[in-house]
Symmetry: C2
Subunit: 337 residues, 2 copies
């Protein structure tokens, strides 16, 4: 009996907060690569907030996932069949997309990784898309200078944790905002932020003002909502806001109003949106820069690993509730290493 491929498809569009029942698993044959294509067997699947955006049936920077289609998400895994000279069976590669056990991908979209250079999950997190996002946001928009005050929301997350560590390396005072005392403790003690505030605490605006006596020069925005409201009035002249995400409202079909923009004029704020794939060269730059930091342990990260493709939808719902701690991964298959 030949093995089958298993895939998670969208069963219906969630109207607000998604539920695992909005997804279902289908089976079909493991595909065969056409010329220039490669089939990989997934070991880890990356679960990311942007994936919620693909479930709305509206125009955005990427096409929505249609009902009945396989959910999108990056995987890292092992090449099982290749019709391209650049890859052979047994290679480790990231770049295949889909919540599924096996994926056929043009070889040009895959990146080969040396076995043992870093834990495989790292290529989906600290060394992958989220890490690159933090790097690009800081390099292309934030441009942090020593002595500046930087605030990072979702500070324990895959993006925020890297963004804050980069700001520390740049010599900034870095204040994280995260959900709950465990995450705040880790951000402060392990990542070395100067402070980390709990966004669930009653007086976030007051606490943030106390933690930023010289105002805020750079804000790395991952959440929106009440955190954004607290940050905005504290922004300094010539402040930069890296608009990376607003996960607090991703389940909201009618997002609330935002901050009055009058202060943007007088303060000469720069508010700029970031989609990491716009500067594809950043991915390799970041890997080259950060791999040694991961090896020597100076760039810290944390993962929440959920086992099994059957639990991918649950992992996704959990992520949107802030139930992850660090990078959210689903382990789909065995790591042969």
């Amino acid at each position: 009996m030949a093995a089958l491929r298993r895939s998670v498809v969208l069963r219906r569009r969630p109207a607000a907060e998604p539920d695992p029942s909005d997804f279902e698993i289908i089976e079909d044959d493991i595909p065969t690569p056409g010329p220039g294509e490669v089939v990989t067997r997934a070991i880890f699947l990356s679960i990311d907030p942007y994936q919620r955006g693909r479930l709305w049936d509206r125009k955005s920077y990427a096409a929505p996932v249609q009902v009945g289609e396989v959910m999108t998400g990056e995987t890292i895994g092992e090449v099982v069949a290749s019709a391209d000279p650049a890859f052979k069976a047994g290679d480790i590669a990231s770049g295949a997309r889909g919540w599924q056990t096996h994926t056929v991908t043009p070889a040009s979209l895959l990146v080969k990784h040396e076995r043992g250079a870093a834990p495989l999950g790292a290529y989906l997190g600290v060394l992958g898309m989220p890490g690159t996002t933090a790097y690009s946001g800081m390099k292309d928009i934030g441009q942090v200078k020593a002595g500046e005050t930087v605030v990072i929301s979702a500070a324990s997350g895959a993006v925020g944790s890297v963004a804050g560590q980069l700001a520390k390396r740049a010599g900034a005072r870095v204040i994280g905002i995260a959900g709950g005392p465990d995450k705040c403790l880790w951000v402060q003690e392990e990542l070395g932020f100067d402070a980390c505030l709990d966004h669930r605490s009653a007086d976030l605006p007051g606490q943030l003002a106390d933690a930023c006596p010289n105002g805020i020069d750079v804000y790395f925005e991952n959440v929106g909502g009440a955190v954004q409201d607290a940050v905005f009035p504290l922004m300094n002249p010539f402040g930069r806001i890296i608009m990376c995400g607003m996960v607090a409202q991703y389940n909201d079909p009618t997002p609330p109003p935002g901050p009055n923009l009058g202060s943007v004029v007088g303060k000469r704020l720069r508010i700029e949106g970031l989609i990491v794939t716009d500067k594809p060269e950043r991915a390799a730059e970041w890997r080259a820069l950060a791999e040694p930091w991961v090896k020597d342990g100076s760039l810290k990260y944390r993962e929440t690993v959920i086992d099994g493709l059957d639990n991918a939808a649950e992992a996704f719902c959990l992520l949107l509730q802030g139930g992850n701690f660090g990078k959210m991964l689903v382990r789909i298959g065995a790591d042969p290493a």
Copy 2:
């Protein structure tokens, strides 16, 4: 009997919409210049929306005018006494600040103008601060490319009229928004914008969407409020919003919420504040560029001139209600030319 200097001082801070009675005229002696100083006799006074900001007792990019102090505003006039070798009596100079007949100013802050090169009022408008603002906004933030769609609010105003003409010169499709049919007609027929919409019309969002079938690439923001609300959803990916002013709310002690910023991420919008004095080199650049265009008539502008320092406060209140048509000037003294 020696002539006296007359000055408009702030009598009380307006709580919302200012009234001429918030100001009063005081008299004192015409000053004598100290070393390196120059005394000018004002011919025209510039009335600008930013002056409303100086009446709030709050921290901003410039210190507020205190009760009892002379109101701030740029003038152009004739040198009547100079203790600096760079200026002599009879010279025409701009840069002196104050709603008053005579002002003492460090010579380094004054700019001398050749008599007859352009009408004097132009140095406070199309060739002065407002024109430079439009130029800097387009050069430093807007970076309009041929074929893009550009929307200009307060399109018949001193800044908007120049910004739109610059966008036309760059090969863009330019849509103005102005208050009332006369201004809209002038913007379209005289300034050559592709269209101009009346912000007072019932369905501005619908009209704007119709006028911008390819979306909006650059928005030059001068007003805020309902116009901003109409523009925001139409912004294209990689759009730029030049945050120059939000005059619609300048009298509002508690400005309303703004647009939800979620779309800034996916569209990679860049929203950036502009204060023209941050790049002082732009002023001379712009004068050199635009003086020939004013001379040959290809850069068009319009002025509302109110006669007499006694009417300066009324001119200011009128401006904040949109009662000006083009650059608002107060004629304070005779032009000797």
